[in-house]
């Protein structure tokens, strides 16, 4: 094969803004339609209101798009930002990039929080955020070279289609003997051929001497990226130290960073061993509590679940340090060395699989009825290489498999593939079809919302059944937890701004296992505090795992153990130490609340963001089929009798199913009311005028939008 060729078509020299207290106060803006590259200053008010990271992304995106903008319009922007603490080297989990765009799946803003070195390198190169708009005529690589103070747009040809090899080649090419100085963002052919494309963010693992990557998975960001004809974005930076962010109070930063890092080093080996097992410990625990999605979220447990459990991955993961940014003592980004795929373009070749994490195991394993860890590794590898989100892939294919088993679709529709649960070869073939952009895989790659329409209009499948079993909300596929017995988590998914991803709220254990939230008010309180606090990590360039996956020994004896307040206090101290803006735990919540409400209003701007858009499919709420009811009959019968005071004597399963459904659907609506009230929103789920004024987001266009929706108080 001929090697790649590169031709510079746009260049921009700049004087690098030095980072001060975590900020450069500069944004880099690249328009690919006319190769225009400019920098924009960030003013004081914007910094205060939006903080950084996801906040900056949303602000840039809000200004870039109109209410009519579609995901593939040139004005849609791909925004990447780091946040004031991003790039800190002594505090665990401080290297995240946050990516936002208008999603092809939801048609609204989506955000993804991802590891790798890109965000910090972007900032140290002089930019708090990057926005890319327009569309290039031919495939391009955008290079942000902080060392040489140059931004370049380079036309490229001859690079491989997949992200795995592309990242390696570009790291070698632009690293010029110093690969550690390079971080690459790229997608792959699957991102181009579907709407569920992800982005891979790299870092060079010096010990293993190879490029590693993490994914900005959700919402089809990779699809927007390839639609703009971007092959990759490369950042180059050299030295990183504790002083790179020029923190306001270095002494305080050292103290707080040391406290959290040391605690993790001491406690992780006793708790979930994330430095060895990543998040794989969750598989068997979820199975034990009937929460592991199995066969399209029908069931929560399976006798073979242990085949996908931590004991297996303990043996499969390559040993060594696996932090996705410098100084992360959780170091959970594990991988499998010398894996040999048995299908697809890499068949028979040794590759390194970055992962799997829990979500991939549940999504591409148990939820498809597949309990073979090697098949899961193969899904993981090819999803990443093709640039496909493992969660949307798994959940979408699980839906397809249930449709197939129910007879809603058949082999005529699937191009001859037997897509019953557990058929790993057919499932892998669907993934390869996405990579090749052909066959039934192209339809699956449209995501569940569009598949429901296609199956109904073209294959004659029953729309109501698909509405119940298609695990999507707002157009985004659910991540991998069973929520039937946790009303709070139903809200955690349904009321999440971008769609059903658990990064806003994960309340299942609190609610279901510990019973800490018996009332609607308590659930509403949790659905206020947790989404707000979790949002804060993405404003600052942080990973949430160090907050609550490893907890202090005495945490359980505190007033609100789920909040892990010791850590929240450390985070407030950390924020103050870097930015010099003194804050408290309450201050962190207000920062998030501001951006959170802005995002809700952004959804409204794009034609969503109200009550009807917070609906979830009934599979997330309760048993859809008689089979499901019967499988946990004792539980459901008991609830009907004790909680709902129903006389079930002589009632058929179908009758009981219908009564239970009525009760559960009603509870979900009451939950919406309680949460909206707690969040300062109208009954229709729109932030009130009072709320936006209190939070300082009463920009003229926001007020105009609220007025147009009849919100006047």
């Amino acid at each position: 094969m001929q090697g790649p060729t590169f031709k510079e078509i746009g260049a921009f020299g700049y004087n690098r803004a030095e980072v001060d207290r975590g900020y450069t106060d500069q944004v880099l803006s690249v328009n690919l339609s006319n190769s225009e590259i400019v920098t924009k200053p960030v003013d004081e008010r914007i910094r205060k209101v939006f903080v950084g990271g996801k906040g900056y992304d949303l602000w840039l995106l809000w200004n870039a798009v109109k209410p009519t903008t579609k995901w593939d319009d040139p004005e849609n922007a791909v925004c990447i930002a780091c946040g004031p603490m991003g790039g800190t080297t002594n505090y665990p989990g401080s290297g995240k990039s946050i990516v936002s765009t208008i999603s092809p799946l939801t048609s609204a803003p989506i955000d993804s929080n991802v590891g790798g070195f890109f965000g910090p390198y972007l900032k140290f190169s002089g930019f708090d955020a990057l926005e890319v708009t327009g569309k290039a005529e031919k495939e391009v690589v955008v290079v942000i070279d902080g060392v040489d103070e140059k931004v370049k747009i380079i036309e490229c040809s001859g690079l491989p289609e997949d992200s795995y090899e592309t990242s390696r080649i570009l790291t070698e090419h632009f690293g010029d003997g110093k690969p550690r100085e390079i971080s690459v963002v790229s997608a792959g052919q699957g991102a181009k051929n579907t709407l569920i494309g992800c982005l891979n963010f790299t870092w060079f693992d010096s010990a293993r001497k190879r490029v590693r990557y993490k994914q900005a998975g959700r919402g089809g960001i990779g699809t927007v990226f390839t639609n703009k004809n971007i092959k990759a974005i490369v950042a180059r930076w050299d030295k990183v130290t504790l002083r790179s962010n020029r923190p306001a109070d270095e002494k305080s930063l050292k103290e707080v960073g040391k406290a959290h890092s040391t605690e993790i080093v001491q406690l992780d080996p006793k708790q979930h061993e994330m430095a060895v097992l990543g998040t794989t410990h969750l598989v068997t625990i979820m199975d034990d509590y009937d929460l592991l999605p199995t066969n399209n979220f029908r069931y929560g447990r399976h006798p073979e679940a242990a085949n996908l459990g931590q004991e297996v991955y303990r043996r499969l993961f390559d040993k060594g340090f696996d932090g996705c940014w410098v100084g992360c003592t959780v170091a959970c980004a594990h991988g499998i060395k010398d894996f040999v795929p048995f299908t697809g373009p890499f068949k028979g070749q040794k590759v390194f699989v970055d992962g799997p994490e829990y979500e991939t195991i549940a999504g591409c394993g148990s939820n498809l009825g597949i309990f073979d860890p090697f098949t899961v590794a193969e899904f993981n590898f090819y999803c990443d290489a093709y640039g496909i989100d493992t969660i949307s892939f798994g959940t979408a294919l699980a839906f397809v498999m249930e449709c197939f088993e129910m007879g809603l679709i058949n082999k005529e529709h699937t191009g001859g593939l037997d897509l019953s649960f557990g058929n790993r070869l057919s499932a892998l073939e669907v993934l390869h079809q996405m990579g090749r952009g052909e066959g039934f895989g192209k339809i699956v790659g449209q995501g569940i919302r569009r598949m429901k329409k296609i199956f109904a209009s073209e294959f004659g499948a029953d729309a109501a059944t698909m509405q119940d079993i298609g695990m999507e909300a707002k157009g985004l596929e659910f991540s991998e937890y069973i929520t039937k017995e946790s009303l709070a988590q139903q809200g955690g998914y349904g009321l999440a701004l971008k769609g059903p991803q658990h990064d806003e709220a994960w309340l299942i254990f609190l609610d279901m296992v510990h019973g800490y939230m018996p009332t609607f008010e308590k659930k509403a309180e949790a659905l206020h505090w947790f989404p707000m606090f979790r949002t804060w990590f993405s404003l600052c360039g942080l990973c949430k795992l160090p907050w609550n996956d490893i907890v202090p020994e005495d945490n359980k004896d505190t007033e609100e153990p789920a909040k892990v307040m010791q850590h929240v206090e450390w985070y407030a101290k950390y924020f103050s130490a870097v930015t010099g803006r003194e804050t408290t735990p309450e201050g962190l919540i207000t920062m998030s609340e501001t951006v959170y409400n802005f995002q809700r209003i952004f959804n409204l701007k794009m034609g969503f963001g109200d009550r009807a858009n917070d609906d979830i499919p009934y599979r997330a709420v309760g048993p859809v089929t008689e089979d499901e009811y019967e499988s946990r009959r004792e539980r459901y019968d008991k609830q009907l009798v004790e909680e709902h005071e129903v006389d079930i004597a002589g009632k058929s399963t179908a009758e009981k199913l219908a009564i239970l459904r009525k009760h559960r659907e009603k509870r979900y609506e009451i939950l919406k009311d309680s949460v909206y009230a707690r969040r300062g929103w109208t009954k229709d789920g729109i932030p009130t005028l009072k709320t936006v004024k209190r939070l300082g987001i009463d920009f003229p266009d926001v007020l105009e939008l609220l007025e147009s929706k009849g919100v006047r108080e």
């Binding site: 034990d288 994960w506 609190l510 020994e553 945490n555 789920a562």
Partner: protein, 65 residues
């Protein structure tokens, strides 16, 4: 002997995870207990035995995800 956090308690034949928790007198409703390298969830506390010499670490697991 088995080690529970930093304490040592005597081991006996057939001792379960539930027995260990009652022995240390900690009434907290732990969701998961680590026994050596294995995680045992609450529904299995009463039927999972603990081997002699084991290191046991109760985990509240209220957060995570």
């Amino acid at each position: 002997m088995i080690k529970v956090k930093d304490r040592k308690i005597p081991w006996r034949e057939g001792m379960t995870v539930a027995d260990v928790l009652s022995e240390i007198g900690d009434p907290y409703p732990y969701a998961v207990v680590r026994v050596n390298e294995k995680s045992v969830s609450r529904p299995d506390f009463e039927r999972t035995t603990v081997p002699d010499g084991a290191e046991v670490y109760p985990i509240p697991m209220v957060a995570g995800g």
